[in-house]
Every structure is written in structure tokens, then in C-alpha cells.
Amino acid sequence: MRWNRWSVAGLLLLAAPRAQAQELFVFSEPASNMPAHSLGLRASNWLMDERNSATINYHLIPELMWGVNKKFMIHTEAFLSNRDKDFSAEGAGLYAKYRFYSKDEVHRHFRMAVFGRLSSNNGDIHQEEIETNGHNTGYELGGIATGLLHKQAISLTVSYERALDNFKGHEFPVFQADRAINYSLSTGRLILPKHYNSYRQTNLNLMVEAIGQWHPQTGKSFADLTASVQLIFNSQTRLDIAYKKELYSNMLRTAPDGWLLRVEHLLFNVL
């Protein structure tokens, strides 16, 4: 089956009706923040299928997340991978998100936030796709709007991303676009429990997200579709099992398809 934009729209709509309020997206961040004075520990394991070889690209991104206050949160990240050589550290990143608009009603909300990411990386630059989250040195600035309507959450993210030279002499290729516009459209749905009666109940969420990138300098673009299963234990520990598949691309990408396994644990009110 060949994917096109209509099948993406169809899948997003399929996931939407009667969706419970779920916005803890896997491939994007919601406009909501984590609780203030709390810490989050997150480990993202990317297992990507390297094209034209039998190798699995493994990226590990551990993150420490801090809810500074009700509007502002910070993530610090480390980037490790086996891409160029043996498994080793390749860089670090700083992500910050500021929620500037919030309208809450009992069963709905609309929130908007701006975010920025600053990353370093010393890996080899081997693809046209720009990804400051673990591949490129550079920065990203963007906005997020998340709406919750009658227990259905949908989120839109748009960002500008700029790649710079990677460290250790891995310069950004001169003839390659170094600027990108990214977008993502995410929706999720609570499958279990049917009714909440305690914080100990395990939650099961399904999410569908469409993510894409466009290079204004060259007109090249790609679009991916992702599907995720999310389990939340004890209302505190989250496990995401997600698969990402390229729908369309006219740029060079070395490993666009693969799995993301993520574990996240929140420490409420520890600071």
C-alpha cells in the first residue's frame, strides 16, 4: 500500500473519535508542562534499521527533566550511539519549553507553548535529514498548540531547525540545506482503564503521529507516520513502544524506519 497524505489524515481521524484525554505524545511534546518542582527521568532507545545494510542503528538518549515552575520546564539530554564506531557518547542537548497560554475547563483545555533546543554532536553527517535531537549540532525553535476537546487531545507542533557543523571536524556539507521547517500532528486515545478508580491502574494508550520536514532552500521534504503503544504504571512510570515508518521522502535519509522504546519515571514534588 502506498501511503499518501489522505491515508495519514484518515488514520489520524480514526484514532480521534471518542479518544480519552491523552497528550503524552511519544514523537512530540504537548504544550502542557510537567508539574513544577518535579523531576523526570527518561531513556529513549532508538533502534533504527540502517538502509542498504543489515546494521541496526542504536541511539540512546537519556534525559533529565525539570519542572522549574508551572510555565517553564527544562530537559538536559545526552546523545549516545553506535553509528560511527562502537557505542559512544556523541553530544548533549538542552531543551526548554514555556507555556504561555492556557485555558482550562473541566473536560477540555487549550494550551500553547514555545520551545527551543540547543544541541551538540560530534558524529559524522551522513544524511540530508536534519535532526538536532541526536544527530546534528544546531538549534531548533518552535511553537506547540494542544487542544483537548471532550476528552480528545490533538497537538500541532511547528518548528524551525538549523544545523551547524558537527564537532570533531565533521563539517556540515556545503551543498546540503542546513535549514528545515518541521511539523507534527499528534493524537492519542486511552484504551484502558475504561473507568478510573485508583492511581494504581495501568493505563494503555494508543497514539498516532504524523511528522515531517521541509527544506525551504532545496524544496526537499519527507513525511513519516508513527504508531505507539503507551503503558503508564502507578500513574508515575511510562513505557512507550513505538514504530516509525517513512511515508514519503525525496531526501537522503540513512535510517528513517525503526523502533523507539522509551521509559520515563516522574518524581513528583521532589524539589
Binding site: 519542572g67 482550562d104 473541566v106 473507568h195 478510573y196 493505563n203 514534588n269
Partner: protein
């Protein structure tokens, strides 16, 4: 005169000896999951004048039990909910109001706070009563707009919290 002094002393002696506001019912807004509910629950549980919290995850309603004899600061409750990332949609205080706590019509003093009953509802009365705080940050955005509209025709008393039965 002696009787009056004794009466005044008795008043002072008894105020705070048992809490007039014992519990509150809070409805939170903007929640999306049990993880969110738990962050509110944890934040409320850490507030120093709160003894315990019962959460109804499904309806986002939290029953708050206050520590006996402690001063109650409703703004601190609101801050805990907002720091957790959400908003207060409703806060109902459950009180056992005594005549001595009503220094003037429509005014109720308890546990370090002043509650002004607004003109459009019935006022403070002795006995078991529930009243709702209707100030900004304690109501939904729609209700807040309604309050703003009302405040152009009705004069709200100044100071303290504005409440309605």
C-alpha cells in the same frame, strides 16, 4: 463587666480549639490522565495545613481534609494545583459556622481568612454550610467572565475571599 471579660476570654479560648472549616471539595480543570491527577494529589498532600486528600480520578474531584487548628490559605491550595500544571474549576469549603465567627452581616472569619458572602447569594448563617470561592483562579474561565460582567452592577465587598452558597 467581669462577665463580659469572661465571655471574651471564652471566645478567644475556643476559637481555633476546633476547626470550623474541616474539609473542602476541589474540582480541577484541564486534566488529561491519571498521571496528571496524581501530580495534583501529590502537590495538595504537601501543603502544610492539609492533613490528607482523597482523589476521585475519574471526575477530577479532590476531597481535602484540613489539619485541626491550622490556618487555611485557599490561595496556597490554588497555587498547588497550578504548579501541578492545572487549574481550579471549583473550591467548596465545608464549614461549621458559629455566631462568633460572623462579626458583620455577610462576613465569616475562620482559620486566618476572611470570607465575604457576595450580595447575590444568601449570607453567612450559623451551622453546617458549604460555600464556594468565586474569585479569579477559583472558577472556570466562563464563570470568571460572568463574574466580571456581574461586578459592573453589583458592588463586591473588599478584602478577603468572595464566596457564595
Amino acid at each position: 463587666m467581669k462577665k463580659l471579660i469572661i465571655a471574651i476570654l471564652l471566645c478567644f479560648g475556643t476559637s481555633g480549639a476546633f476547626a470550623q472549616i474541616t474539609t473542602a471539595k476541589l474540582t480541577a480543570a484541564g486534566l488529561t490522565c491519571s498521571m496528571c491527577s496524581k501530580s495534583i494529589y501529590t502537590a495538595l498532600s504537601k501543603v502544610k495545613f492539609i492533613a490528607s486528600v482523597d482523589a476521585d480520578v475519574e471526575s477530577s474531584v479532590f476531597t481535602i481534609h484540613f489539619k485541626e487548628g491550622a490556618d487555611i490559605n485557599p490561595s496556597r491550595i490554588r497555587k498547588a494545583v497550578e504548579d501541578a500544571g492545572f487549574s481550579v474549576a471549583a473550591l467548596w469549603m465545608n464549614a461549621n459556622i458559629r455566631q462568633t465567627d460572623i462579626p458583620a452581616a455577610q462576613v465569616y472569619l475562620s482559620q486566618g481568612a476572611r470570607y465575604n458572602f457576595v450580595p447575590m447569594g444568601s449570607g453567612a448563617q450559623v451551622g453546617e454550610q458549604s460555600f464556594r470561592i468565586i474569585d479569579k483562579g477559583f472558577v472556570t474561565p466562563d464563570e470568571e467572565a460572568e463574574m466580571k460582567r456581574l461586578s459592573t452592577s453589583v458592588t463586591f465587598p473588599e478584602g478577603g475571599y468572595h464566596v457564595k452558597r
